[in-house]
């Protein structure tokens, strides 16, 4: 099984389902096991530049660490204030520490799932699959695809506007205040350019016969086959096993008014 070949809609829905279940778990063990599992799966069955993956993973990690700190620092009064643990030179209520660790690990678990999706899915295939499997109106979907294509153009346009301003004597911004002013000057031309371009694209699409009708043909036909169901089955079984393990070792905590 290769993750790249799983139908994008099936993949997306599976991940949403897993995220939903994980959001109700409040023990540190299940998310931790799940993070390791998802990492392994992504590494073994996805083909991409691993360097970029870890770059992204690192930013998530910083975010989770920040969450850990702020949840402890701004925590609500615990039910058992006497039950303290010493951690990194701090006296923290045990209950707060547990909740904080499970919340941060949960963020990391969400992160590994989203990285799995991002690194193994082609954007165009994803949108086409949304039309073909999840019945997204083609008018909307192709509109989004056209808009998405503007992204690199926007960068060129930004550089052009900056050059045009400079050539007319607007100096390069050096201080933070000047930079803010400069961005203010860029906003309207940039947006106006984007709107003009979008309008022209829409007219071009319509003049070439695009009606947005559902009854149309596709260059890429995407199907859901029996093989695609393997992904949700494996993922949910793994989650079930981890929950069972955590129950056996008596760490398990379900949503029980912690928040």
């Amino acid at each position: 099984m290769c993750l790249h070949n799983v139908n994008p809609s099936v993949k997306a829905l599976t991940i949403l389902g897993l995220v939903f279940v994980l959001a109700f778990l409040f023990d540190p063990i299940t998310p931790l096991l799940f993070i390791i599992w998802t990492l392994l799966l992504t590494m073994l069955f996805g083909s991409f530049r691993k360097k970029y993956y870890f770059l992204y993973f690192f930013t998530f990690f910083i975010f989770a660490a920040g969450m850990l700190w702020s949840t402890i620092a701004f925590a609500d009064t615990p039910k058992n204030p006497a039950d303290q643990v010493s951690w990194a030179g701090w006296e923290v209520p045990k209950e707060d520490l547990f909740v904080a660790i499970s919340l941060s690990l949960r963020i990391l678990a969400f992160a590994t799932l989203s990285l799995l999706f991002m690194f193994t899915t082609n954007m165009v295939h994803f949108i086409l699959s949304l039309i073909q499997q999840l019945k997204l109106p083609p008018k909307l979907a192709y509109g989004i695809l056209a808009g998405y294509r503007f992204l690199p153009l926007m960068k060129t346009e930004f550089q052009q506007i900056r050059a045009a301003h400079r050539i007319r004597g607007m100096n390069q911004a050096t201080s933070l205040k000047e930079k803010m002013k400069q961005y203010k000057r860029f906003v309207i031309p940039l947006l106006a350019g984007a709107i003009r371009k979008a309008e022209r694209t829409a007219i071009a699409m319509e003049s070439k016969g695009f009606t947005g009708d559902r009854n149309r043909t596709y260059y890429h036909n995407l199907y859901v086959t029996k093989k695609d169901w393997l992904f949700p089955i494996i993922m949910f079984t793994a989650l079930g096993v981890f929950i069972t393990l955590s129950i056996i070792f008596d760490y398990f905590a379900w949503y029980n008014g912690q928040l």
Binding site: A23, F63, S70, T71, D76, F110, L113, L151, E199
Partner: protein, 192 residues
């Protein structure tokens, strides 16, 4: 989707793409503020993350504009890569629904300052309720949570409501919106 023109859809998604980049650019700003003030840091500038709903609804004036534009912006953010992941799409949908609810309350008839500010506030309230459960705000003390909510509502009204209106009006002046509902209605008003 039938009463939408293709032009409106593509313009809406182009706006969403632009603001998806803006949204991502503001995440580190929020993180710096969080570093200084704790979790409330995000709430000072939270309004920026609803702005595309208000702009799209104000320009296009059709049911669904606020919801769809915010959802597309969130999806693009996810595809560009961010530190929150696909959950962000749901967050975007909920924020969009919040803004949409304000326009629905006025039955999509009024697009004055008050409605736009209300849309910002509603988006703030919806996103806060969602954040309460997913980001674990309830682990924080209740006065702090209340302060967060109020800050976010004010930020929504000012940054997304007022700034969103100002940006759209400035865009209308350039003439690029001449075939959109915003300018058409203004023209009708001036003629009458």
């Amino acid at each position: 989707m039938k009463n939408w023109r293709l032009k409106e859809i593509v313009v809406m998604s182009a706006l969403s793409v632009v603001f998806a980049v803006v949204y991502l650019a503001f995440l580190p700003v929020g993180k710096v503020l969080v570093g200084f003030f704790g979790p409330i840091g995000y709430d000072f500038i939270f309004g920026i993350w609803f702005i595309v709903s208000i702009i799209a609804a104000y320009i296009i004036r059709k049911p669904g504009a606020a919801f769809l534009s915010e959802t597309i912006a969130a999806t693009i953010e996810v595809l560009l890569g961010n530190a929150i992941g696909p959950m962000l799409i749901i967050t975007g949908m909920i924020q969009g629904l919040g803004a949409e609810s304000a326009f629905a309350m006025t039955r999509y008839k009024y697009y004055n300052v008050q409605t736009l500010m209300l849309a910002g506030v509603m988006a703030a309230v919806f996103s806060f309720v969602w954040g309460y459960f997913t980001s674990g705000y309830a682990a924080l003390s209740s006065t702090y949570v209340l302060a967060m909510l109020v800050t976010r509502m004010i930020s929504g009204a000012i940054i997304s409501g007022l700034l969103g209106k100002a940006l759209s009006d400035a865009l209308a002046k350039t003439g690029v919106l001449s075939s959109f509902a915003l300018v058409k209605e203004q023209r009708r008003k001036n003629a009458a």
